[in-house]
Symmetry: C2
Subunit: 727 residues, 2 copies
């Protein structure tokens, strides 16, 4: 079982494929004979004689660098194919996938292709020059059942007994929706070979026969669940192999890291090990808020790939999901994920064996994945993982469907395994949303990993000390300033659920109800910039800055005789059960609704009852003078058809310089429609900066309009509502 | 010049040492013959025939992993020794250093030691099995002058002409203070050999003759300045070698990273390249606020090793100092520095060549360095650097004085260069001060490196938007609350320099001057915990928490009829020119003085004039009830000898559970002296937590004392001053 044997190209194997089963030919002439087995721990590389104890300690792990890299492949794995040959039935999980990768290994000289009679000698003399072939065998039933139910195994075995017509029927039933599976006459055999290949590969690495190894296997495994097949997968190869290694090497292979860089989340691996403290599963995948495959499971659970899934029971913290918000990720994002999350956690876990669930569908060129990871980046990720577990890395193929992309990526990985330095690489800038997602992963993992704790607020502990969310404090300070300056006071808001955060949110100047000109300012809380302590997140208040663009506008308005209503829209409403470090989307929606009803309440009970001749609304939410850094909102009404026209006439909407509407041709055309108002391109980016830059502009425009309405003309009340409120 | 040649052990070289000079024997029988030269770009490993264009692109860098690792050594480098043989003159830069390392390489089988007649064949057949010997030669004058002045070269050359008596005299003159240099008859020759060894090593790596290489050379170089020797160093080997490579390979070796992990700062390297955009110098060293060697230069500049030195002119950002606050650093700190600073910056720089200035005096066992870096950690750092520059890494020995530690460390590095996986390693937890220093390095480098910008406030930009430091905002909010609750008002502080930050710092209850019982509360600003955005450091106020332990105490005091004076001590005083992201130490001292005069002012003008029978001072600075998380302060007076006794009698000093005084035997004994008051060990850590936990305790104690003084007894005014104020 421990044998690995130098093999030539594929032809030799073709003959072996005729053998009945078992495939022990590798063991038969390779194993047991230590001369041929390059990696036995007491190998032939020990030429030291008298060493001092320190050097001996250093030498204890021997020179694993002199061991060869293994490769596991068998042509029979091409024989799993779709029984449905109809033209539309072509499937991305194509039998050529493994063939192409193996051919690329040969073409780039990673596998010996010279005369067979020289093979043994050359491979023995220079063991690290070529990859050593690890023979494939079928996984046993016992092995499969280490990660699957007996029922599931029986279901797969039964495929062998089906007629072609029945196979086609089965494919039609399964090859859609979340199951996404095709079957053929050989599917069971090949699935067993694929799992067996993973087992032999991991065992040769864990047992120290080879330095590291690459299993070129199919069908893939990581979607297969304990009790059902899924996503092109029958048996979950990697979990089966990991459990076999843990069983056979209980002392030296206790803790295993499974790193899954397939672009899809490995739901099966996650679920099989979800409460296992000895298997750390880290997956990098496209999540798209649960929309990307494999997405939402049938029962009412949340999608498996969400970053909030950290394992359970003894396995808490042993599941790390790095789920990208979208496709389009590339080297910058993957390198950052490795530096900030994967490697620190992996080092703290300190595994005995690393298995890479290596799909290459995040590779540049794979249309299903839509990402841009280059071969050099795969090399760098491999190189980093090789620093773990004394270099014991086993790579098992999962998905990846562009034949050229998977070959090039696999070659880059294999070369790195063989000791080739990873190629020089310009790492692109990271996508900002991706960086934010990584920060959230850190927050989710902070309870379980020391290395993730730096810079993360421990919210429950903070609450227990009577901590108060800062936005309440800041608003209270603003109230103090506005009270002292302009005698402004809070407006009483009678609401069914009067949350603490609404207490100081609406401030008004005295006698607002008698003002002739009113300015309503609707704004976000002031911008805060902060530099907390790297370790305990404590913040010296002098290392934090508050940037408030609103007060200047209020000063100006009061000076010009306006009555002012200042509405602060909190980003979060402080509640009784208040333990979130980050606000989940669901709560954001809830907040939006509450704010809408607050604004409606103010409109109904105050603003529309006032006597003012002129009413200006200044705000980000909507309104006459508007500063837009995010979404542009339309103002239209199904009742009042003139509203959009009025809005166009009576608005100044300043839009940030870097807003997509200025670069996207189609958007530029659209925003000049009436319902978006009179849109002005700002030279600046960021609300505070924009408000400062356009203060004079906005003030002049407002004064002009006041004068024009005061100097006769129509004295109709100017009013507007946000598109949001009407829709 | 391109030749590198398989060499056996040291004996062979001993004979060569007799040759006049130049040492071209390596070139003579090794270079030019491509069969023997393993690394020529058009080497003999090209067995591909028909490859598709993609694979060809992948293959462009060939298989550099099949090239050998080089080693450069020459026994003559042992011949630089101290001309002063007197017993006390033994020097840590001992000739045995290089010998021991080379012996360790042989002992661990990294260098071929078999029969000489087989050497050529074996090394050709298995080029990666042993290190290939790179012959040493003397650096030419032209080469030396690429990094040094002609005057300096002449000074070193003159050593050769001195008599032994003169050499001893010279040693006596130089071997002290910052210069720290000894000389001997062979010093010039050996210094030239050492530089020549560095040159040949770097050239063989940059030119692709070897995969990577290790130069076992001495004397070291990194302290040597452009125009003078220093710190055991005559010529600065690495800069000389780097300049030679840049000159000889202008296309392929333009950008060079010098990574200096010697425990001392490489002042010479920094200064030589300080304005050079093509050489990135990153140094990890013990800084100790400039006290550690090489420390303060003679002219009134700041110590070279400070983290604020980022290069100048075109070289801005090309100098990265990671200066530890103290000795005692180890694997945790070095791994963190690599993950957080070194590798991100190095990847963004994307060098063509990496040179490690490899002192091993941060190694566990080196008494001069006092750090604890283990051989596995050196292996991991080497492994990470090998991911850069297509693996072109040249290691040049610098310092390191424990013979066993340097040998073991060098073997770990050499094995890693040869492709050995770095050993498994438990990474210890990082020292908190070290982590804070890394965060400060990030802030200093943020203007120059995209990867350093995440999470760093751009202070000048923030100021330009009218940003206000948050502590003023928070104090304003506190004032609002205390005004509403207890009618407290700010006390007018007439000061020559009335800074904005002092405006709201002192709040008092009405009629304080007539109160019978007064509580003076001196406290820091409330604790803030924050989670800013990972990218732009903006902080949603609802993701920040304010933890204030003081208000409860005020509520309690008012309820019990105390008059209250609440003094908030800001951590920073907002000033006109206000551009610091982190507050430098000099400003902290200034602040401390201002606070002292504020407290004195309050004492003189208010507190001592009040009529109260009982005066309690509650504070962190000093006083009757004190919560100590940081330094314990003594209260004593040179005038009033009874003060310490009074303090012991009339104080409760709660000290954090993790304070050193509880574990350090000597400290425990000392803190029970009178001048530290009555010290109580808290079960908690952190001021807010402690104040909460001991509230009842403190309240009871205060009430007891009020009752005891009210119920007759002595009604003497209880007063105290801090040791700080008196000294």
């Amino acid at each position: 079982m421990e044998g690995s044997q130098p093999m030539d190209g594929e032809d030799h194997h073709m003959k072996d494929a005729d053998r009945p089963k078992g495939l022990e030919h590798g063991a038969a002439n390779g194993a047991g004979t230590h001369e041929a087995s390059p990696g036995s721990e007491e190998g032939s590389f020990d030429e030291e004689t008298d060493m001092d104890p320190d050097s001996l300690a250093l030498e204890q792990s021997r020179r694993r660098g002199l061991l060869p890299t293994g490769v596991c492949y068998d042509v029979r794995m091409k024989m799993h194919m779709n029984a449905d040959f109809s033209p539309g039935a072509h499937h991305p999980e194509d039998p050529r996938r493994v063939h192409e990768i193996f051919e690329a290994f040969k073409r780039t000289g990673l596998i010996y292709t010279g005369p067979e009679e020289d093979a043994a000698r050359i491979l023995k003399e220079v063991p690290t020059r070529y990859m050593w072939r690890i023979p494939v065998r079928m996984a046993t039933r016992e092995e499969i059942c280490l990660a699957h139910s007996a029922d599931h195994l029986a279901w797969v075995e039964k495929i062998e007994k089906l007629s072609t017509a029945e196979l086609r029927e089965l494919t039609k039933r399964y090859d859609q929706g979340r199951e996404s599976l095709y079957v053929g006459a050989m599917s069971h055999t090949v699935a067993r070979l694929s799992a067996g290949g993973a087992i032999e590969t991991c065992k040769n690495v864990a047992g120290g026969v080879v330095k590291n190894a690459f299993a070129v296997i199919r069908p893939p495994g990581h979607h297969a669940e304990y009790d059902h097949p899924m996503g092109f997968c029958f048996f979950n190869n990697v979990p089966v192999a990991v459990r076999v290694c843990q069983k056979e090497y209980p002392e030296t292979c206790r803790k295993v890291l499974i790193l899954d860089w397939d672009v899809h989340h490995g739901n099966g691996v996650q679920n099989i090990f979800y409460d296992d403290p000895n298997v750390l599963y880290i997956s990098l995948h496209v999540y798209q808020n649960g929309q990307f495959y494999p997405g939402q499971p049938p029962n009412p659970m949340t999608p498996d790939g969400g970053i909030e899934h950290c394992g359970m029971g003894m396995g808490l913290g042993r599941n790390v999901n790095i789920g990208w918000h979208d496709q389009g990720m590339g080297d910058g994002e993957y390198m950052a994920a490795f530096q900030k999350i994967v490697m620190p956690i992996a080092q703290e876990f300190n595994p005995d064996l690393v298995v890479i669930s290596a799909g290459f569908d995040a590779a540049d060129g794979d249309e299903l994945g839509g990402c841009f990871v280059t071969p050099p980046c795969y090399a760098h990720m491999t190189h980093m993982l090789m620093s773990l577990a004394d270099g014991r890395v086993a790579v098992c193929l999962e998905g990846g469907y562009n034949l050229r992309a998977i070959s090039n990526s696999a070659v880059a990985v294999a070369k790195t395994l063989m000791g080739e330095p990873p190629p020089k690489m310009e790492v692109p800038k990271i996508n900002k949303e991706a960086a934010r997602m990584l920060a959230k992963v850190q927050a989710h993992q902070a309870p379980y990993w020391e290395c993730m704790r730096q810079g993360i607020v421990d919210v429950p502990r903070t609450q227990s000390l009577g901590g108060e969310r800062l936005h309440d404090v800041i608003r209270s300070a603003q109230r103090q300033v506005l009270q002292a300056k302009h005698n402004m006071t809070p407006l009483y808001v009678q609401r069914q659920h009067l949350y603490k955060s609404f207490e100081n949110q609406v401030l008004v100047t005295p006698d607002l109800d008698r003002a002739r000109k009113i300015m309503v300012i609707i704004h976000d809380p002031p911008e805060l910039l902060a530099q907390p302590d790297a370790i305990d997140t404590s913040l010296e208040p002098h290392n934090a800055w508050l940037v408030d663009g609103v007060t200047d506008y209020i000063d100006w308005a009061v000076k010009h005789g306006f009555g002012v209503m200042d509405i602060n829209i909190p980003g979060y409403i402080t509640q009784e059960e208040d333990t979130d470090a980050f606000i989940p989307v669901s709560k954001e929606r809830e907040l939006e609704q509450q704010i809408q009803s607050l604004v409606c309440y103010l409109w109904d009970n105050y603003i529309q009852l006032y006597q003012a001749d002129d009413l200006f609304i200044l705000g980000r939410i909507s309104g006459v003078v508007s500063f837009v850094n995010g979404n542009l909102r339309a103002v239209k009404s199904s009742i009042d058809e003139q509203l959009s026209a009025w809005y166009k006439e009576n608005s100044r909407v300043f839009v940030a310089a870097d807003h997509a509407c200025w670069t996207d041709h189609e958007l530029t055309r659209r925003i000049h429609k009436r319902r978006f108002g009179t849109v002005v391109r700002s030279q600046d980016v960021g609300l505070s900066k924009m408000m400062r830059a356009h203060a004079d502009d906005a003030h002049d425009w407002i004064l002009q309009r006041v004068r024009s309405s005061e100097s006769g003309g129509d004295t109709t009340e100017e009013e507007e509502e946000s598109g949001n409120m009407n829709s």
